[in-house]
């Protein structure tokens, strides 16, 4: 859904169409995305159009990237430590 929206705005039914999900499940997913600020939607007449908020996506991206990098460094250090202290067999 996020992938589709990153290509441009779409209506709820357009988002639901390629997915093997009920319309109400799609609406629930969108509610989660909207609550996280990643997606904004606007109702014009009977059509609700969804738009991705790129700055929010970038924030999540930066945050995960930073945390992953710090975990990777930490776990590599642990690996070095475990290798150095390997008991002789």
């Amino acid at each position: 859904m996020v992938e589709r929206l990153s290509r441009g705005p779409a209506s709820v039914s357009e988002l639901a169409q390629p997915l093997d999900m009920t319309l109400s499940a799609v609406v629930q997913h969108l509610a989660v995305l909207e609550a996280s600020g990643l997606v904004r939607s606007e109702k014009v007449g009977r059509v609700r159009t969804c738009t991705i908020q790129p700055d929010r996506l970038q924030l999540a991206e930066q945050w995960i990237h930073a945390r992953r990098t710090s975990w990777e460094k930490r776990l590599d250090r642990l690996g070095d430590f475990l290798a150095e202290t390997e008991p002789k067999t």
Partner: protein
């Protein structure tokens, strides 16, 4: 006034070590062993109380003159040689930047260990110091997708 916002995200980091699960777990559990690989253990004021309900606390700067970071852990579940679950928050320059749950699983793999770290976090108000930005990350979308797989019941 601070613009309030929360981004939720989940990610997984895995490593396979030749060390046994018991030895890998001990590197997290034993203060003397942990001090040998965990950088924050060298900082003044470091606290480490490894038991359920115990706390780990460190304060330090990533670079000279940079903002002060606080890393505060509450150990919530400890299954020796198998699993550690803890909640933690991070502050940067006195401002809370995130609250997370981290799970560390130790799986026997041959004589060694496959260790899986999963972090589920709430990232607060867009505070961030990361200069490097990674663009076009499909993995982010995958991870976000995974974190969204559990949809709350409709109200």
């Amino acid at each position: 006034m601070t613009q309030r916002s929360v981004v939720h995200a989940t990610f997984v980091v895995e490593r396979t070590y030749t060390a046994t699960p018991a030895r890998t777990f001990a590197a997290w559990a034993d203060p003397k062993l942990k001090a040998l690989w965990f950088p924050a253990a060298e900082e003044a004021g470091y606290e480490f109380d490894f038991r359920e309900g115990g706390r780990e606390y460190s304060v330090g700067t990533a670079e000279a003159g940079g903002p002060e970071f606080v890393f505060a852990v509450d150990y919530r579940e400890i299954v020796p040689n198998e699993r550690i679950v803890y909640a933690y928050y991070m502050d940067m320059g006195g401002v809370r930047i995130s609250v997370s749950v981290a799970t560390i699983e130790f799986h026997a793999k041959g004589a060694g260990t496959r260790m899986v770290v999963t972090e589920m976090g709430a990232f607060l108000d867009g505070h961030d110091t990361v200069a490097q930005r990674e663009h076009g990350t499909n993995w982010l979308i995958d991870r976000l997708g995974e974190s969204l797989n559990e949809v709350p019941a409709a109200t």
